[in-house]
């Protein structure tokens, strides 16, 4: 990937003409804006970028870009993206997900994507609710959040995606707020440039089912200390912060997953020798 060249592309080059289905005021509009800006800054041609997603409000995003996209089944975007990146290491691969898609049904793939360290960027738009199915608690929802499906709340402790990412071996862990377009854009640029798997949790309010999340604008704050490459230190900070601490929280040095498909192939006839008597 050559990102040192000056950006020859404009924001419009990365946008499709499809109108998003999101509710007015949805944080995901801002995420789309930040993604577009980051892609402009990265300067890769739209046809060399693939945006892969699963199911949910967040997962509608590939069709709103002018990149190659895949809107797959619920929870499996990381697996699909890993196959794509291994088969086509020349592509820039972004995986877009939400807290239900990424942490509940896709939870197992999340851990293993962190471990595998395939060179791609995983963006989770976390609004702490299933929006597309109209308001059910997700793994990051507060235990007392009332809903028709779980009256009085689930009573379950929220899932801590950043800590789980660290524990699973993730090599780049960041948190941003969708309303902070500049901060999100810069973090996404760093995440894409980072060799190996990078994970960015974007707090992205659902104004329809979680109107309380409108308050996030005043709650989020930049991390007061610099990023670290010490996973234990990063984990302690993430465990003890208030959940609204934004920035690149951990950047490690693990080598990316090395397996990939080559551009040219040798004749498979050589493989047949072992069977001849």
């Amino acid at each position: 990937m050559n990102i040192s060249q000056p950006a020859p592309f404009k924001a419009a080059d990365y946008k499709s003409d499809i109108t998003p289905i999101w509710c007015p005021g949805c944080g995901d509009f801002h995420v789309l804006m930040s993604i577009t800006k980051a892609l402009v800054a990265l300067g890769r041609a739209p046809e060399d970028i693939a945006v892969v997603s699963g199911i949910g409000c967040s997962s509608r995003i590939p069709a709103y870009t002018n990149c190659y996209g895949f809107h797959g089944v619920h929870g499996r975007s990381l697996a699909l993206a890993a196959g794509l990146k291994v088969a086509r290491p020349d592509l820039t691969v972004l995986v877009m997900s939400g807290d239900g898609d990424g942490f509940s049904i896709g939870g197992n793939h999340f851990m293993h994507a962190c471990r595998r360290n395939v060179d791609m960027t995983y963006v989770v738009m976390d609004n702490r609710v299933y929006g597309m199915t109209k308001g059910q608690p997700s793994p990051t929802t507060e235990p007392d959040w009332d809903s028709a499906l779980s009256p009085g709340g689930t009573g379950l402790s929220p899932f801590h995606p950043l800590v789980i990412a660290l524990a699973s071996g993730a090599n780049f862990v960041a948190r941003t707020f969708s309303g902070d377009i500049k901060g999100t854009t810069n973090t996404l640029i760093e995440a894409v440039k980072h060799p190996g798997f990078s994970f960015v949790q974007i707090l992205s309010p659902c104004v329809t089912f979680r109107p309380d999340e409108r308050q996030w604008k005043g709650t989020v704050h930049k991390a007061v200390v610099d990023e670290t490459d010490d996973p234990a230190r990063a984990a302690r900070r993430i465990m003890t912060d208030d959940g609204y601490n934004t920035g690149i929280l951990y950047r490690g040095h693990r080598k990316p997953y090395a397996t990939h498909v080559c551009d040219t192939f040798d004749d498979p006839a050589t493989l047949e020798e072992e069977f001849a008597l």
């Binding site: 046809e47 996209g69 089944v73 993206a81 040798d266």
Partner: protein, 581 residues
């Protein structure tokens, strides 16, 4: 095929012992030596559920012609010991003139064996081995078995030398001595083949398993990416592909589960690489949602299902054909896709390659229904010819001033697919119903059009004559109708019946879905009696055929679940019972 084949002749031996006693090694050496001597053969392993230890049996059938199923009775059983004899006895019934060779030092012959009434010869395998420095009982057993069937001494020694050379000269010498003693001991009991009845080596022999063959076929067809999650009895497909793909510039990724492996396969294929995964029933069950995604988003891929006994965990190490329904009907919604089945171990190579060709040509998920009896059988076959099927995907080439529509409605239903990196070809592949451009849509017309497109592209494709193997006299009014691995036993039954003057036509289906009704009915033209054979409890194949069309003639349905594989003798009985009635 040569014009005049000699009469089919085969001999079957079983070598049994505790796990680790080396029964499987002995069987493998016999099979390889037989291949070098110009014979044909098939070997299956029967192992207990234990990971290590337990019982292990090498079941070897040698023949003067290609052989595609195990024997129903054994001419020789060599018991290195009698551990867990009751577990394996039912799998290796002895012929009336059969022979058991066992070691008196290993305890009395179990009742289940003495009850067979066959001749029992006691030879001190253990003491023979102990008298040779570095000697092993399994090598003595090997010598006995090789002498019994009349394998040339030099050939056996050549194979032993190459197999044991890594262990040093002493091991080779010890192995050779053990085999020599065994061969001498066998002189009295030998049932040698008549040399004139053994086909000469012409094109050269291959020794290959069904799992290896299907993987090689896929690579020949152009597969360069595989995603893997281990499962019995499919793992060897993936274990063969791992180094093979690396060697030629492809890649295999081990996934965290089958939900992941199928999606990795979709992702790699979307990226423009012919891609494959392999699994068994439980894995296929996890994959079906995403196979539907591949159908809807028109991403080519191949899933090899090496079937085992089901439902649920079932019998992982034994064969059955009971994934037919899930392979054809598993997806929710109407999700047209291809289901094919190899008809023999040699055909695993062809069908594996053909599956890639079909998947790529039609941009459609394709399921290959192999099974344990094919996948894990090691077979001596003629060196297979190269076939012309290669992955050829219709891709999008950018045109000046042209708007690209990924899901354009074309005459044959197949639309050019843009591969990422192609300027102007950007689209979002989607499991949502979409417009011709790929934009999500809930319009009736888009839904109808895309359904029609996906249906038509596989319904109108030219499958040539590969949809089935049809053999025998066209005027013959008795037909055996089957699919997959059972074809081997059916062929042998038909050959036996022919010797009795009973003519039977064979229709063995390789393409199960889509159902080619016209070709199917043509193949059954003039049939007065049809025997449908399958290895399922509920009769899935029979029900499937009945749902597709009215079958001509009188129908007899012979089916049972695994693990007891349907054999030629039973099939002959089914036909004879009919012809005499």
């Amino acid at each position: 095929m040569p014009a005049a084949r000699p009469t089919f002749k085969s001999i079957s031996i079983a070598i049994v012992g505790s796990g680790g006693a080396g029964a499987i090694t002995a069987g493998s050496i016999i099979l390889e030596a037989a291949g070098k001597a110009g014979w044909y053969g098939i070997m299956n392993r029967s192992v207990g559920p234990q990971i290590r230890g337990g019982e292990a049996a090498a079941l070897v059938r040698l023949a003067n012609q290609p052989v595609n199923c195990m024997s129903e009775s054994y001419d020789l059983l060599v018991a290195i010991d009698w551990n867990n004899a009751e577990r394996f006895a039912a799998e290796m019934p002895l012929a009336d003139d059969g022979l058991i060779i066992c070691d008196p030092e290993r305890g009395p012959v179990p009742d289940i064996m003495t009850e067979t009434g066959v001749e029992i010869v006691e030879i001190g395998l253990k003491s023979i081995a102990e008298n040779i420095t570095g000697g092993r009982e399994n090598m003595v057993a090997l010598g006995l078995a090789a002498g019994f069937v009349g394998l040339p001494f030099d050939t056996i020694i050549t194979v032993i030398t190459s197999k044991l050379s890594a262990k040093g000269e002493e091991a080779v010498a010890a192995g050779r001595q053990c085999v020599e003693v065994g061969l001498q001991q066998a002189q009295t009991y030998t049932r040698q083949f008549n040399d004139s009845q053994t086909l000469a080596v012409d094109s050269g022999r291959w020794l290959i398993t069904g799992n290896e063959a299907v993987a090689l076929g896929a690579v020949r067809g152009g597969v360069r990416f595989a995603a893997a999650y281990p499962i019995t009895p499919a793992t060897e497909v993936l274990e063969w592909l791992a180094p093979a793909l690396t060697k030629i510039g492809g890649a295999l990724v081990q996934a965290e589960d089958e939900l992941s492996s199928i999606n990795m396969t979709i992702g790699a294929s979307y990226g423009g690489r012919a891609s494959i995964t392999a699994t068994s029933g439980p894995g296929l069950a996890l994959m079906v949602e995403s196979i539907g995604l591949a159908a809807a988003s028109e991403v080519p891929l191949v899933v090899v299902d090496v079937m085992r006994g089901g439902p649920s965990t079932g019998i992982p190490t034994k064969s059955e054909q009971s994934d037919l329904n899930i392979a054809i009907y598993g997806c929710h919604g109407d999700a047209p896709h291809i289901v094919v089945a190899p008809l023999s171990v040699a055909d695993c190579l062809f069908t594996g390659q053909w599956a890639i060709h079909l998947a790529e040509a039609m941009q459609v998920p394709t399921i290959v229904l192999s099974d344990q009896s094919l996948g894990q059988a090691r077979v001596l076959i003629d060196k297979p010819a190269n076939v012309a099927f290669l992955a050829k995907r219709k891709t999008y080439e950018p045109q000046e001033g042209e708007t690209y529509n990924r899901y354009a409605l074309t005459a044959d239903g197949i639309s050019p697919m843009a591969i990422p990196g192609t300027p102007g070809g950007q689209y979002t592949a989607d499991g949502l119903t979409h417009t011709i451009k790929g934009t999500p849509s809930s319009k009736n017309s888009d839904h109808q059009n895309q359904h029609d497109k996906r249906h038509n592209k596989i319904a109108n494709f030219d499958y040539g004559n590969h949809w089935a193997d049809i053999e025998g006299d066209k005027d013959c009014d008795t037909v055996i109708l089957t699919w997959g691995s059972i074809t081997g036993a059916a062929r042998e039954a038909i050959a036996r019946l022919a010797n009795e003057g009973i003519k039977v036509r064979l229709v063995a289906m390789r393409l199960l879905s889509p159902f080619l009704k016209d070709k199917f009915l043509t193949s059954l033209a003039g049939a007065a009696r049809i025997l449908i054979i399958e290895q399922t409890h509920s009769g899935q194949f029979h029900q499937y055929l009945r749902a597709q069309c009215d079958l001509p003639g009188y129908i007899k349905h012979f089916h049972r679940p695994g693990p007891h594989i349907i054999g030629p003798k039973e099939i002959c009985d089914q036909i004879r019972d009919w012809t005499s009635s």
